[in-house]
Amino acid sequence: MIWAAIIGSGLVTYMVRALPFAVTLPVRLPAPASRYLEALPVAIIAALVGPAVLAPGGTLTHGPEPLAALLVIGLVAWRRSLLIGVIGGVAAVAFLRAIS
């Protein structure tokens, strides 16, 4: 299953990268369609965050995830660094678990 997912994901990723190089598409997509496509990645990655932060175990969390996520937002917005945000968030979760 994992291998099918990896190979399938590789194929669809290559397909969207190569399609415009292989065939002639209409020169311009309608503006609403481009806006939808531009917003897709933010939406999907945020959708991955939702369950992981609000319901990491399948039920509403009382754990450290929401607080740590807010800290990551603050750190990344402030320092513009993914690494600093990840280190801060991981440290916060470890700390909050240790004191609870």
Partner: protein, 208 residues
């Protein structure tokens, strides 16, 4: 850009290893898929035991934006043979697109320059993934050190860095809320793709 790729690739290796994937699977993801956010998303979906069509569909939507990027680069590549264009397409990423757009706008003409840059990123991404796998294998007991949160923290950071305008914030918050609610309702694997497909509708009516 090379520094970010190195760190993100190594983070991916660590996180994927900690999520219980085999080293060969993790390396194959970077070598075959070569798309950072998608690979992190795949790890998360594997951890939730999502069925493979759900994983592939999520990756497809996540990468659909490449159609826009490739379309905008197409005129620069028109003088290459079709086979070379199709080979160059494999190396198209957010990073190489950003670099190419800047380079061609400044009047650059050398496609060799773009290809060298894009292929270097690919090699660096694969090498740093493998380094991350080694580091991840050496760290035991991820929960105690909060390392299970690293992937979530990475997504939060990617979203924050990707925000360009007010509608992006609205789209992100809507996606978090919809996916969170669906997960609570017990639909955690399709939550991502449903919320991801619905939330961008908020951006469709954005004024220019």
């Amino acid at each position: 850009m090379f520094g970010t790729t190195l760190v993100t690739g190594a983070t991916f290796g660590v996180v994927a290893r900690q999520a219980g994937l085999e080293p060969i699977e993790i390396a194959a993801m970077s070598i075959i898929v070569f798309a950072g956010a998608s690979e992190f998303a795949m790890v998360q979906l594997f951890a939730a035991s999502a069925a493979f069509p759900v994983v592939v569909a999520t990756v497809f939507f996540l990468n659909l934006r490449h159609v826009l990027m490739a379309t905008s680069l197409r005129p620069q590549f028109a003088r290459l043979s079709r086979a070379r264009r199709l080979a160059a397409a494999f190396f198209l990423t957010d990073e190489s697109f950003a670099m190419a757009t800047g380079y061609f706008r400044r009047g650059g003409r050398s496609l060799a320059y773009y290809v060298t840059f894009a292929v270097s990123l690919y090699i660096l991404w694969d090498a740093s993934t493998i380094a991350g796998i080694a580091i991840g294998s050496a760290i035991g007991e991820p929960r105690r050190f909060g390392i299970d949160f690293a992937i979530t923290a990475t997504f939060v950071g990617i979203v924050v860095l990707a925000i360009r305008r007010a509608t992006d914030v609205a789209v992100a918050l809507a996606a978090v809320a919809i996916a969170g609610a669906l997960a609570l309702a017990g639909a955690s694997t399709v939550a991502v793709i449903l919320a991801g497909a619905v939330a961008p509708l908020l951006a469709v009516g954005r004024p220019r």
